[in-house]
């Protein structure tokens, strides 16, 4: 598996001097970010599978489809796929940036809840931590690209699930939705960066 490390400090510093970035540098950044979304897409599917494996029935059931649930702070990728692709690059990036500004905090909350519920599931803990890091990295990359393209940034995130869940079942369900939204956003980001890459070839 390819491991990508993202230096958030560098990304931020590059953002500050975004106007000076050449087209080539922007294309390189988009390419790197696209490769990160490939990894994220793969890892998010693994994470969802690992998550449900530890929650028991009905989460581990293959045909488990709970009703949609709003996760506080996390926008749902509710735009239909066609409409999503029809959006402007700026809009798409804005949506992605808004989602990935929130996801690291949410994944961190899920990690803490799972430490309480599944103290023995060390692999799940590791994947949740890795997912939070990857989302953080992608958020930085998106921020850098948007800065380079001089696009407006997203609103400041609310980065956690708030207070502790009222029940263990609700914690499991919330965690499930976070992991599933994480997977959905990974797919959306992969599509969006793929499109962007075609527009900014190296």
């Amino acid at each position: 598996m390819e491991v990508l490390t993202v230096d958030r400090a560098n990304l931020l510093s590059s953002t500050s001097s975004s106007s000076s970035l050449s087209q080539q540098e922007v294309a390189t950044k988009i390419k790197q970010t696209h490769r990160l979304t490939v990894l994220l897409k793969h890892c998010s599917e693994q994470l969802l599978a690992e998550y449900v494996r530890h929650q028991g029935e009905p989460f581990s059931s293959p045909d488990f489809q709970p009703p949609a649930m709003a996760v506080p702070g996390l926008p749902s990728p509710s735009v239909p796929p066609e409409a999503w692709l029809a959006l402007s690059d700026g809009k798409r990036l804005w949506h992605l940036a808004a989602a990935y500004a929130t996801l690291p905090g949410l994944l961190g909350s899920v990690r803490r809840q799972q430490a309480e519920l599944n103290p023995l599931a060390s692999e799940l803990h590791r994947q949740l931590e890795a997912a939070a890091r990857q989302c953080l990295g992608l958020a930085g990359n998106l921020e850098g690209i948007m800065g380079a393209l001089e696009l407006p940034g997203p609103p400041p995130p609310s980065s956690s699930l708030g207070g502790p869940p009222t029940s263990a079942f609700l914690a499991k369900l919330t965690g499930y939705h976070v992991c599933r939204l994480h997977r959905d956003w990974a797919m959306r980001s992969h599509e969006a960066l793929g499109l962007l890459r075609t527009k900014y070839p190296l």
């Binding site: 530890h54 028991g56 599944n118 103290p119 023995l120 029940s167 079942f169």
Partner: protein, 1091 residues
């Protein structure tokens, strides 16, 4: 008496009273009171009520007058209502109720007598003061006032509490509760636990009371039910769907009821515990439940219980199922540093509950009354908890409590901390030395051990893996370095040191070993001089000095060189240094002997010198002795020599493989007379030679040579041997020595095997031979052996093996055939010939002398029938006499004698004495023409014979029955036509058969393909010789021309009854058949069965 007004009044009252008792007095007025009823709540006052019609007149009032007993005057009260509060009296109460109109005019009066039995005791209706619920435990708590102050004394009270649920107010439980009223108001409380969560539906409670006053004879009744109370805050449907109970922890095996609450407009599709669906129990219109029996332990995140709602909803809860904590096991407390006491234990059975539900441990010390909450890792098999050591406290009484939501357990331990010292692993361990035998050690142990002494153990391992332990006791200190030193180390040796410590006085446990540290001691001069030997060259001009390298433990360092010096009268003549690894050097003596000195040197110095003289003493008559193999060494002994004053030296030169031999030697004290020599170079079956020198005052003298084996083996090869000479009864065998290298031991002898046997025999070993003979030859100087008493012309197999103490070597064998015995052969030929000649001569002489008598008797010119034995013979036959009488001449009167001529052109010879030799001998092998044999027709009297032969087959030519007398000298037997042969059945008859009868039978036998067995049956008498012998044609025999089956030998001497030759023809003798080389005349005479 009646004039007394008071008496009259009293009588009037009594009368009225009686009326009141008997009647419910009715005056007939409609306003008259009736149906008086009285109840009491407190046994003090009672409330009486009555019925009265008051429709016509408004403003009616009632005057009630009551008296408790006769002596008291009545008490009257007025009331507007139809009830009155009057005191309760013991016994009965007279009550007069008068109805008054608005103007106060009595309208009607009614008097009642109320006995106590008609009064009802009904307690006041109880009031629920408080009703609360603990939803986590499904428990309702109820509080109420018992109103005990109503009664002035103690009373037993009973309470009935009714629990109702659902909207339909179904009774869940009806519980009785007894209490005692104490004359004061008391708050009573009671709780009740539901088996389903209280959130699942609405619960209602009401209560009533019953007073049990034993002295009250009236009716005692339950009070009214209290006003119904609802469980607070849950009397309405929930705001959002939920499943209860939430995150509950239960014991494995429990029965749990779950309910799912949902909103209006929703319905429940199904409800599952884990993956299993359960039947729904409808509690109300917004709640359904499932009941799960005997739940099993859940996974760490708990078991999900969830309900799926329609149209779109999922609600759930998690049930954590586990065990109460086990009693902490193997609780043990010790101190490492005297700062903390560390207690450790094993948690026992896993609770299957984790994180906030996991077992919590609290360590409580009873003496100091301090407790510590222990942070443990549930996943580890052993838990630890630290408790601070208190100054001036030695004894600690610990109780370890374990608790989780399902229960608790505890273990206790009492310790004296000074007896539970388990020191930390010694740290900063260093080893140093500045000598060849000593080492200094230092280490650090954290902790305050001022109040105890320490015992430390130092482990010393040398390079040979030998281990040594030294213990050292020292005073304890606070966070200090500890030092020790070890001596008696070996110079220039590498050691590995480790150390561990414990409390000295009250041993509890050793600490862990410190890390190992290596140290090599300094070098020291070699401990002794090397073992030396010398050998003079054959000429004696040079002397080669040998020395053995010192052992590592003796060298005390690295040997750099050896210094070899030559002294003569304490004056060093020569000296030179030989570097390692050489272990020998040559010294030119120049005709002078000297004292050789060898010194080993290393960096630290020189060894003491080893000395040896170069002088050799002459030795005469040195013998070579044999040593004894012990299996792993060579045992050598020698006679003690009193002249040997400075020991013996045993020298040998052992070669290994292709390398030249290496001089080795061993020294023994002067009093030694034997030794077992061992060497890794010794090999079994290899001969080693030793020379034993005696060290005498003036030099070394060779005393004897010794040869021996470490272990003797069987000879590797068989001795080469040959047959030098053979005769008819003996073989001379000669062999050679086996080469020494093939002997593999001292040869003890040879074993010679011999047995009859052909070369083609499949037998490969003499052990298989049944008749083998073996000879053990122990005289090793003997190199040949003659084997006697053998049979001539016989094949023998010979084998020879050599043997040593180690066993018998391989076998070598050969075959030899003994020669024929010629003397026996000659004797075997000569004796029969001589006997035959002598018999012939004697017979001839007798025949010649008695020729006249013979002629008269047997062949008269004119036979005399009376003297004719032939006739006698015939008569015997005719009479059937089978006695062994031949030619017995019995009187026989012939009836007639007729002489007729035969029709045959050839004279037919009729001879009653002639029989076919074939009849008694072997039949012709080819079986050809058996009927060509002679047909003897005895036509001479007697009639019996004629009868026998007069019945031939019809088709047979007529046989003659005439007797023809012929001259025996000229007779010959003509050929007889087979067709003329009469068919006579073969008769098996034992015993002697007259020869004239035999031909008939014999012919018949031949025609029936006779077998030998038949012949045996037929013939009791045997001819004198084998028929084969007589089969040979005699040129003199006329029969031989016609037939091979009958052999006549008329020219030869023959027996009276036989015409066979007594002496076989010469040409037969000359052609013996040699079919078997094993047969010989020698065999014939020896007559051995195996011949």
């Amino acid at each position: 008496m009646w004039d007394n007004p008071s008496l009259r009044c009293l009588l009037a009252i009594a009368f009225l009273h009686l009326l009141g008792l008997i009647y419910s007095q009715e005056t007939g007025f409609p306003e008259a009171p009736e149906n008086l009823k009285c109840i009491t709540h407190d046994l003090n006052r009672m409330i009486c009520s009555w019925d009265a019609t008051s429709s016509a007149n408004l403003g009616l009032t009632y005057k009630i007058c009551y008296t408790n007993s006769e002596p008291f005057s009545p008490v009257c009260i007025e009331t507007e209502g139809k009830r009155a509060d009057i005191p309760v009296t013991i016994g009965s109460t007279n009550i007069q109720i008068t109805t008054l109109n608005a103007s106060g005019t009595p309208l009607a009066t009614e008097t009642f007598v109320l006995p106590e039995e008609n009064v009802s005791l009904i307690p006041l209706t109880p009031q629920i003061l408080n009703l609360s619920a603990d939803f986590s435990t499904y428990t309702l708590y109820l509080k109420w006032n018992d109103s005990g102050s109503v009664f002035q004394y103690e009373l037993d009270a009973s309470w009935q509490i009714q629990i109702l649920h659902k909207e339909t107010l179904e009774t869940v439980a009806l519980i009785n509760y007894d209490s005692k009223l104490t004359g004061k108001d008391s708050i009573l409380s009671w709780d009740w636990t539901s088996d389903i969560p209280l959130e699942c539906t609405s619960y209602y409670v009401k209560i009533r009371c019953y007073i049990n006053e034993p002295y009250f004879t009236g009716r005692k009744e339950w009070s009214e039910w209290s006003p119904i109370r609802t469980v607070p805050e849950k009397d309405t449907k929930p705001n959002s769907p939920m499943v209860f109970p939430q995150d509950k922890v239960v014991l494995v095996g429990s029965n749990v009821t779950f309910c799912c609450l949902y909103n209006e407009g929703e319905s429940i599709k199904f409800m599952k515990y884990g993956s299993k669906s359960y039947p729904l129990l409808r509690l109300n219109k917004w709640s359904s439940a499932i009941k799960v029996q005997n739940v099993s332990a859940s996974i760490s995140s708990g078991t999900n219980v969830w309900c799926l709602l329609e149209p779109d909803g999922l609600e759930g809860t998690v049930l954590f199922v586990g065990y109460a904590p086990d009693t902490p096991q193997n609780l043990s407390c010790e101190t490492h540093t005297f700062i903390n006491i560390t207690c450790s234990w094993k948690p026992g059975r896993a609770t299957e509950l984790y994180t906030q539900r996991q077992t919590k441990y609290i360590l409580f010390e009873r003496i100091s009354k301090e407790n510590v909450t222990c942070e443990v890792d549930e996943l580890k098999p052993e838990h630890h908890c630290n408790f601070s050591v208190h100054a001036n406290q030695k004894i600690y009484n610990f109780t370890l409590g374990a608790s989780n939501p399902l229960g608790q357990a505890e273990s206790s331990l009492l310790i004296d901390v000074t007896q539970r010292v388990h020191l930390e692993t010694p740290d900063k361990f260093t080893v140093s030395t500045n000598s060849s035998t000593n080492a200094h050690l230092s280490w650090y142990i954290p902790g305050n051990f001022i109040q105890i002494r320490l015992l430390c153990q130092i482990e010393i391992n040398n390079s040979n893996s030998e281990q040594q332990l030294q213990s050292v006791s020292m005073a304890g200190a606070e966070n200090s370095n500890y030092r020790a030193w070890v001596d008696a180390l070996h110079p220039y040796a590498t050691y590995t040191f480790r150390v561990r410590c414990s409390a000295s006085e009250h041993f509890w446990r050793w600490s862990e070993w410190s890390e190992g540290k290596k140290l090599t001691t300094l070098e020291a001069p070699p401990a002794r001089g090397p073992d030396i030997w010398r050998e003079r060259s054959p000429v004696g001009e040079t002397l080669t000095v040998f020395w053995k390298p010192l052992l590592l433990s003796e060298a005390n360092g690295i040997i750099l060189s050896h210094e070899v010096s030559c002294y003569s009268r304490e004056i060093m003549l020569k000296a030179h240094e030989v570097p390692v690894p050489l272990n020998s050097t040559e010294i030119k003596l120049g005709g002078n002997d000297c004292l050789i000195s060898v010194v080993a040197k290393n960096r630290a110095g020189s060894s003491p010198p080893s000395r040896i003289t170069s002088m050799d003493l002459p030795s005469d008559n040195v013998k070579t002795e044999l040593a004894i193999a012990t299996g792993n060494g060579i045992y050598i002994s020698w006679p003690s020599d009193p002249n040997v004053t400075c020991g013996y030296t045993l020298k040998c030169c052992i070669s290994s493989g292709s390398e030249p031999c290496k001089v080795d030697w061993e020294m023994f004290p002067s009093n030694a007379t034997d030794a077992v020599i061992k060497s890794a170079l010794f090999q079994p079956g290899v001969r080693y030679n030793f020379s034993l020198y005696g060290c005498k005052h003036s030099g070394y003298q060779l005393l004897q040579n010794i040869t021996g084996y470490m272990k003797e083996l069987p000879p590797k090869v068989a001795p080469n041997f040959t047959v030098e000479e053979t005769s008819s009864d003996s073989i001379l065998v000669k062999w050679e020595d086996i080469p020494v290298e093939d002997c593999q031991g001292f040869l003890k002898g040879y074993i010679l095997y011999f047995a009859k046997g052909e070369k083609s025999s499949s037998k490969t070993s003499f052990t298989d031979e049944e008749n083998k003979t073996e000879k053990n030859i122990t005289d090793l100087t003997k190199k040949s052996l003659r084997i006697l008493d053998l049979q001539g012309k016989t094949s023998y197999r010979l084998g020879l093996r050599a043997y040593t103490v180690g066993g018998i070597g391989p076998l070598k064998d050969l075959y030899v055939v003994t020669k024929e015995n010629s003397v026996g052969l000659i004797i075997a030929i000569l004796i029969p010939v001589a006997v035959a000649v002598v018999l012939g001569v004697v017979t001839s002489i007798l025949c010649y002398q008695k020729r006249e008598w013979i002629k008269e008797t047997f062949y008269p010119d004119i036979p005399n029938p009376e003297n004719s034995k032939a006739l006698q013979f015939q008569k015997n036959i005719c009479e059937g006499n089978t006695a062994l009488k031949t030619l017995e001449m019995n009187p026989c009167t012939p009836n007639c004698v007729e002489v007729v001529e035969t029709q045959s052109t050839v004279l037919k010879i009729e001879d009653t004495e002639i029989i076919s030799p074939v009849a008694d001998s072997e039949l012709p092998e080819d079986g050809s023409d058996p009927e060509t044999g002679s047909h003897v027709v005895v036509s001479y009297c007697p009639p019996i014979i004629e009868e026998e032969i007069s019945s031939p087959p019809i088709d047979e030519p007529v046989g003659s029955s005439q007797v023809i007398y012929i001259d025996i000298q000229s007779m010959y037997q003509p050929q007889v036509n087979p067709e003329e042969e009469p068919e006579i059945n073969f008769v098996t008859t034992a015993g002697y058969k007259p020869q004239m009868q035999l031909p008939i039978n014999a012919m018949k036998m031949e025609s029936h393909s006779p077998t030998e067995e038949d012949l045996d049956k037929t013939v009791g008498y045997r001819p004198q010789a084998n028929t084969n012998v007589w089969k040979l044609d005699s040129p003199d025999s006329p029969i031989s021309i016609q037939s091979n089956n009958e052999n006549g030998s008329f020219g030869s001497p023959c027996s009276i009854n036989s015409r066979q030759f007594l002496i076989p023809p010469k040409d037969y003798e000359d052609s013996p058949t040699h079919n078997n080389t094993g047969w010989s005349f020698t065999n014939f005479f020896q007559n051995k069965p195996n011949d």
